[in-house]
């Protein structure tokens, strides 16, 4: 049986440092520390749980949950991010997609994926040398209706079961959720950050109560954390894969100029 050896979650953007250099540096240092801790778990595979930003998915072909099934990916290169190829793991991806679909959970397999910053900012910092193969697992909160917390939690449960039942003992899987926390993007409220909600959300996870987050509705998240805040469904997927795990906040900065509550967490698995 395989093992989940690490679980981490972090915002998947960075912003202009001008005028807030110290705060930006605290975020960056926190992200690097998260990466150091993830690499220290010596994973053989990283599952990056995140939302795409309509760079790989179209509005008229909704794929709220999707998985990359290639053995290699060329990043999309938005935000000027490097486009060096990254390794995938088609066997894991296709096996998990089949496993999920067999259990009534529709996980789309788009034929062509070029991961955007939702994958590449977390991964680029966690694995700067491009040494680790990844599986991009999409919780695409750009759709309306978006994936719900309940569905997201269920996806995490299935991921845990698949790793446990179908991976070999040599497979060491690290989970890396990307996105959030509260942010309003492309809407009049852009620039608002709800720090108290962000801290409540992280405290809930840190104290091993992630299951309670599955009872949230997207309407509640939209009201409290914004349209971009729906990305916390990726964090809830991660929590579903490590039920009861406690954790700690590695960094948090409310940065209205980046239109985001910037956060990172590490969990004890």
């Amino acid at each position: 049986m395989g093992k989940i050896v690490g679980a981490f979650a972090m915002s998947h953007v960075l912003g202009a440092p001008g005028g807030l250099e110290e705060q930006a540096e605290r975020v960056f240092v926190g992200m690097k520390e998260l990466g150091r801790q993830l690499r220290a778990t010596h994973p053989t595979l990283v599952i990056v749980i995140t939302s795409d930003h309509l760079n790989n998915f179209r509005l008229d072909q909704p794929m709220p949950f999707a998985i990359g099934t290639a053995d290699a990916y060329t990043p999309y290169g938005d935000m000027g991010l490097p486009t060096d190829q990254i390794r995938g793991n088609a066997a894991f991806s296709t096996g998990f997609a089949m496993f999920a679909n067999d259990r009534g959970f529709k996980l789309a397999k788009p034929p062509r994926l070029r991961p955007d910053h939702g994958v590449m900012i977390p991964l680029g910092i966690v694995d700067p040398k491009r040494e680790l193969p990844i599986v991009p697992l999409y919780v695409n909160t750009v759709y309306t209706p978006a994936p719900t917390p309940q569905e997201s939690w269920r996806l995490g449960e299935l991921l845990r079961a698949y790793v446990s039942e179908y991976c070999t003992a040599e497979e060491r899987v690290a989970l890396l959720a990307g996105g959030g926390l509260s942010h309003w993007l492309g809407v009049p409220e852009e620039g608002r950050v709800n720090e108290s909600w962000d801290r409540w959300f992280m405290d809930t996870l840190a104290t091993g109560q992630g299951a309670s987050l599955a009872a949230l509705s997207n309407e509640q998240i939209l009201a409290d954390a914004g349209n971009g805040g729906l990305e916390v469904n990726s964090w809830i997927t991660l929590a579903g894969a490590i039920p009861g795990a406690t954790g700690e906040c590695l960094f948090y900065e409310a940065i209205p100029a980046w239109a985001s509550g910037m956060a990172g967490m590490a969990f004890r698995v």
Binding site: P17, L54, I125, G186, W258, A259
Partner: protein
């Protein structure tokens, strides 16, 4: 709220075809005609801000992309290497 005819398709085309993004600044009418964008929203697309585009019903992620390619980003650009060169 539904976006005006052709607008989402136009922006999705530009996502898939980066070489055409320059037309937003040089020949936007070419793009508007190609996607049959209604005449009454073209001026807003050419000059409007985030909230104007939001009022048209354009998806927020597509609003951001359109404004970046139009030279009217809501947040300042920065070189990612400011961070990535120090990973």
């Amino acid at each position: 709220m539904t976006a005006p005819r052709g607008v989402h398709q136009l922006i999705e085309h530009l996502i898939e075809t980066p070489a055409d993004r320059g037309l937003i600044r040089t020949s936007p009418e070419v793009l508007f005609d190609r996607f049959d964008v209604p005449a009454e929203v073209r001026e807003t697309l050419r000059t409007g801000g985030r909230d104007d585009l939001h009022r048209l019903g354009i998806h927020p992620n597509l609003v951001i992309k359109w404004l970046i390619w139009s030279g009217r980003p809501t947040m300042p650009f920065f070189p990612i290497d400011y961070y990535f060169a120090r990973r």
